[in-house]
Amino acid sequence: MSDSPAVAIHGEAHGEAHGAAHNPALLHHFAEPQQQRDAASLGMWIFLATEVMFFGGLFCAYLIYRRWYFEDFGAASKSINATLGATNTAVLICSSLTVVLAIWAAQTSRRALLIGSLVLTMLFGVAFLGIKGVEYKEKFEEHHVPGASFSFDRVPIPRHPDQYANPQHAQIFFSLYFIMTGLHALHMIIGLGIFTWLLIMAWKGRFTPEYYTPLEMGGLYWHFVDIVWIYLFPLLYLIDRHP
């Protein structure tokens, strides 16, 4: 209908780049790369804000029932393997370190370090999920998974060995435990997906000291998942541990 050269109509934003031949990663509606980077990082932080509120609902539920069923939560928490939890915390912290190393490597054009750090991050992530799996298996064998076969009979309350925890209330703890850690694990799996993609991009040499926004965004997400765990660990694993 017009004499302009045929433009692909699939609507890909960067397919319609106009103006001078600038950075190919710069999308058409941004004036300059800095604006695009700032938009991406603000967008990511706002996304993390939604994630905080998403987990916030669960923390709210936890807080209320922890106060209501204080002793039962203690007894239930004590049955979880805290050593595995602590190990997992360490694993995640190490993975966060490799994430910042990957970004630094991209900033300084160290390709081997970049790819190595990404691979290490993913290995730590997989290790975390593996340890989590062991933990879930233990719970399953102890019949601590909420549902028909749940049993928490005659488990003494910390500091009151003559009293038993209420199985119903303990089941609420385990419900929250599985939902919170499960949702966290789901985020880890999504994170692994993101990092697989980042690894492919890095392998293809897409990241330069000028352009590494996807790495930064993926890193922010990964660190956020780490922070959630930093709170889940003491709240779920470490209450009423002392004799």
């Binding site: 603000l42 106060r67 966060s96 370190l97 930093i230 709240l235 209450i239 002392h242």
Partner: protein, 97 residues
């Protein structure tokens, strides 16, 4: 962002990492001590310090070249606290009457 190039941030990254690991060990050990009602307080304080370390240094909130990102973080925490605090306004006072 890229203005870190003049000095390598590696030392900072590794010290934060070490601090986080130490924090984890302290949390873990402290949980087995009898601190009465301070057990939870200690655990949550250390967790908050760790979260701050990650946010400030690994997520670069500290070096952010504008205040907006800090505002996003602070207002998110504010609304999270609203959710928790106003819920507790109900749960905390239900038995008063």
């Amino acid at each position: 962002m890229s203005d870190h190039s003049k000095s390598s941030p590696l030392k900072m990254y590794f010290s934060v990492w070490a601090a986080l690991l130490v924090g984890t060990i302290i949390t873990y050990k402290a949980a087995f001590l009898e601190l009465g009602r301070f057990n939870a307080a200690v655990a949550l304080t250390i967790a908050t310090v760790k979260a701050l370390l990650v946010a400030l240094f690994f997520m670069h909130i500290r070096g952010a070249h504008e205040k907006l990102l800090k505002l996003v973080v602070i207002s998110t925490i504010f609304f999270l606290i609203l959710l928790l605090a106003l819920s507790m306004a109900d749960y905390g006072t239900r038995l008063w009457s």
